[in-house]
Structure formats: C-alpha cells, structure tokens
Subunit: 318 residues, 2 copies
C-alpha cells in the first residue's frame, strides 16, 4: 500500500489529540490542541491543520497518509457531523468531516468514541481476526461499539450502539439516569454506577474500609473501591461482584440480538477485572438462553495501556 | 436474469410446503408433503424432490429456477443444518442444505422462520427499499429477524435475532417462559402472553365478556379477546393496550442496539393492531432515548394475507 500511515484524532471536551499511526498500531508522533480555545469551528479546523502538518512532514508528507479518523462525542458517521455535543464549544450540527477533508485533501471519517474503540480492537487489539463482537466501554457512562460481520453497526441514522441506555431494570424505583429515564445499563456499570452500588451497600452499616474513607471526607471512586477490594474488603468485593452480575445479565440479553463471539471490555473500572469477571461469566452462562451457553469469550481491551482513542480513530480509515 | 423463478420452502412440524415464486412475489404453483411421514431424512429429501419436480416442469424446468430458500425451525444459515428441532422428526444436526443442493443441483439456503419473514418483507413486503429494520413475528412465541444495512443479522453462530428471549421484566416473579427463564419478551407479547395478560386482568373480578366465555368453558384465545375488544369490552381493550405498551418499551430498547428505520409486525395477534398500535407508538416515543424519538416507523407486515412463509423462504435466494 502506498499509504503506510493513518491519522487518528481523539476529539474531547478538553483536548483534541492527533496521532500518526503506522501499520502495526504504533503512534509514531502526536500533538494536541485545546478544544475550548476555538469556539468558531472554522478556527478549530485551521488549528487542527496547523497541528497536524508538522506531524505529516515528520513521516515524509501528506502523500504517505491514508486518511484521517476522528472519534468525537455525538459524532455521526453518515453525515460527518457532530450534533449538539454538550461538552464541545460548537452549537447545532458541525460539518467537521467536510471542513477537514476539504482542507487536508484526504479521506476523513468520524464516529463516536465507543465505535472508534471497537474499530481499534478489531484492527490493533483484542478483536483482531474477529467478525462479530461487542466492545463495552466503562467510564463516566457506558458506551458500546457493535461489530457484525466485520462492520460497525451505525443503524439507519448513525446513532446505533447506545447500549449504555438499554433499560435493564424495569422496577419503578430503578436508578435515575442522566438521560432522564430510569434503569439504564450505565447507571449500574459505569464508574458512577459502581460507586452507586457501593454506597447502597454501605447504607446497611456493614463495616468497610470505604466507610473509613467517607468518614475522612474522601470522595468515593472506582479506584478506591478497587484498592479496598484488593485489601480483602468484603463490601468492596461485593460491589464488583454485583457489577459483574449486571454486566453478565446484560450481555446475555445483547446476545439474543447479535450472538457475538466475544465481548471486549474497556475502561478504568476494568482494572478491577479480577473481581468483576468471574461473576460476569458465571451470570452470563447461567442466565443466557441455553443455545448460547459457554460459546462466548469475555476479554479485556488490549488497548488500555496504549492511546486507545487515537488508535481507534485511526482504525476507522484502516 | 436467466432465472425468473425461485423456490420457497416452508418446513413445518406438520406440513412442508413448496412454492414457485416469480419476480413479483406471486406464488405461481405450490405443493406440499407431510413432514412427519419421513422419519428418515434421506427419504424426506427424496420426497421433497418428488414434490418439487412437477412444479419446476410447470414453469419450464430447472433451468428457470434461481435457487431454493427454506424457512425451518432451529435452522442454521451458516452450517445449512437443522439442529435439534423439537417438533421435527429428525434428531441431532440434519445437513438439509447439502442433501438438497446435491440432489437438485442448485443453490439452497436455509434459516429460521422469522429471518425468512424479514427477507420476505424486504423483497416483497413492507420493507421494500429499507436497509435497516426489525421484523417481529407474534405467534405461539415471538420471533425476530433483524436487518442491518440490507443484511440479515446471523451473528457468529447463525443464532442471532432471538429477541423473543430478551428478558424484559427483571422482577423475581416475572412470567416463566418455556425456555425455563423468567421475564422473556415472548411471555408478554406472544398469543399466549396476551391471553396471560387477559387472565391476570380477569383475576380482579372486573366484568368482562371474556369471563362469560370462560364460564361457558371456552378456552380463551387472542382472537376471542379481539372480538371482545371490538365489542367495546374494557378489559379486552386494556389487554391489548398493555401488549402495545410492552411492545413499545421493548422496541425502545432494541433501538439502542440497531436504530432501525422501521419495526414490522407479523402474526395473528396483529389482527388487533387498532388496539395495540396506538399504545405501542405512544410508549415507544415516550420511553425511547430522546435522540431516537419520533424517527421510527411501526408497520404491519404486507405478507399477512399471502403465503408469507413461502415468500420469505424464496426471498433468501432473491
């Protein structure tokens, strides 16, 4: 191939990071700009080009670049736009792909972060060689990227794959989600959801290291719960076990849809995989429809120690 | 095209029906055999060929046939087999595609009934021109066929699209499904599920025409509930309203997966669409994640008065 390099762009609310990625998924050079410094989208696009140009020169010039992929919140693959992203400075629909591809003269593709993560796993990570898998990203929320027969599922409008907002608890007092509805998957399995579970368990007054942290005025975090679990704290361990059970039961439902060969988990809370995974697998295989039992793999992302967002974005044009 | 006709086969527990289908979805001739008369699969396949041969001759011979599609319970698209179908006479994995394609010398494709129904809608029915839709078949159980970007979703193992067994009620006393688990979609929205809802409502002792039927020793059916609803029976109307609410809430969850442009409903219970659809649409748009609101169509199958099973099977090779 005449294009040994790809550009991956991780467009976030604070920073926009650019990386030049080679065939093997190495980021050979990178740069970044402050997203919020450019309230005008045209100025933002020009700043992008200024930041990327020296990177391209470093690898021999634009003619060695196969294209640019962008992972961004509220991005639409079909329209190439970012639509009403609450944490970005631009209002309405922003035609980012059109603006960048005109200025750069190359193929530009955009999608949301979780879809980019799924492509990253397929091209550079744990899903290499797979054609049917689901990536679940656990962070502040829960994101998902669904790959069926080697293709990302974008749906009719580009907004498919929002499994974080599947309603998995139908009881009237289910947890209230930031989307305004009750019982969404992400209210249980995001970092916030895990903290929520721990706090619910703490209400019983059981002794736990986490109560000591709370008494010291420290804010509970998924990391603190993990540290406590590592020290044998029963309540912290139960928090992750319950998280694993919910993940397992939810994956069992997702399987009725697309019967993937693997689920791949990404994100900070999966540092606690030693406490989450056993309950996840046990619950999945116990609760899934029998025809699917013991057929599915549950894997950790292979991009967690690398710049997954940049690699995933580059993978969009691989 | 040199093949103006296709063969559609509806392989059921009682009858196996063969139809020759033309470009426009007309069944130009058909025949059938008794499935249970052939406990040996080789004898069954020979009987199929004997039944089909005069049909092929009627349209000018085998050279005018583009292929054969089969809709059958527990059929696997990838392997071409029927696997452990409880209502069919053959045990284990039956390599039906291999046996038939060898004898007939043509392309043979098999999948389950609901997937065939989805292909039928795309080629001959309500989904013509659509690339993203979900067909939900309401019968004794609930089946589904999911089409993403014009392709049926088979998943990694051929068993994707079993949405009837999504667990939609997570309460401990949720309805017990024939699969042995609780809270499956089909326990609420199949014909049996609808009767279950009516019987639950009748437990309150409210006056209803359905109680009169029960008192006469008549078995309740979805059709009897429909007749009562048409006569203004409040309990019967509420039964369908609740069915619509459950369908709407479940479709809202399915949308987070594949964001289709339409849901298409097939099967006897949809005769009562005038009572089901308003609640379905209202619940869907109220409960779906806001980005999806008012974007989706809810349609009735256009194959319900035709031989949908034969047409759907033929559509597999269209």
């Amino acid at each position: 191939m005449s294009h040994p390099y790809l550009i991956g762009v991780d467009l976030g609310g604070t920073n926009t990071v650019f990386g030049i990625v080679d065939y093997n998924g190495n980021i050979v050079c990178e740069s970044s700009i402050k997203t919020q410094s450019y309230p005008d989208i045209h100025e933002f696009v020009e700043a992008c080009v200024r930041s990327i140009t020296p990177l391209m020169n470093q690898v021999g010039g634009r003619q060695f670049i196969g294209g640019m992929g962008i992972g961004a919140p509220n991005a639409n693959f079909y329209t190439g736009t970012i639509e009403e992203a609450p944490n970005l400075p631009w209002k309405g629909k922003v035609p980012l792909v059109q603006l960048l591809s005109e200025l750069l003269g190359m193929k530009v593709v955009i999608t949301n972060d979780a879809n980019a993560a799924a492509m990253g796993e397929m091209v550079y990570g744990a899903a290499r060689g797979m054609r049917h898998f689901v990536v679940i990203t656990l962070g502040t929320g829960v994101g998902s990227g669904i790959v069926i027969d080697g293709q990302l599922v974008y749906g009719s409008d580009g907004f498919a794959g929002e499994l974080g907002h599947m309603i998995i608890d139908t009881s009237p007092h289910a947890r209230l989600c930031s989307c305004g509805r009750r019982g969404c998957f992400e209210t249980y399995c995001s970092a916030r959801g895990i903290i929520w579970t721990a706090k619910e368990l703490m209400e019983s007054g059981r002794p736990t290291l986490l109560q000591e942290l709370a008494d010291q005025g420290k804010e509970l975090s998924a990391l603190e719960i993990y540290k406590a679990a590592r020290q044998g704290d029963e309540l912290a361990i139960e928090t992750f076990r319950r998280t694993g059970e919910t993940l397992g039961a939810t994956c069992a439902n997702i399987t009725t849809f697309c019967s993937p060969e693997a689920y791949i988990f990404f994100g900070g809370p999966m540092r606690s995989h030693e406490f989450i995974m056993p309950a996840l697998k046990e619950t999945y295989n116990r609760s899934v429809l029998p025809i699917y039992r013991n057929r599915c793999q549950f894997l950790l992302s292979e991009l967690m120690d690398r710049n997954a967002a940049v690699l995933g974005a580059a993978a969009l044009v691989a």
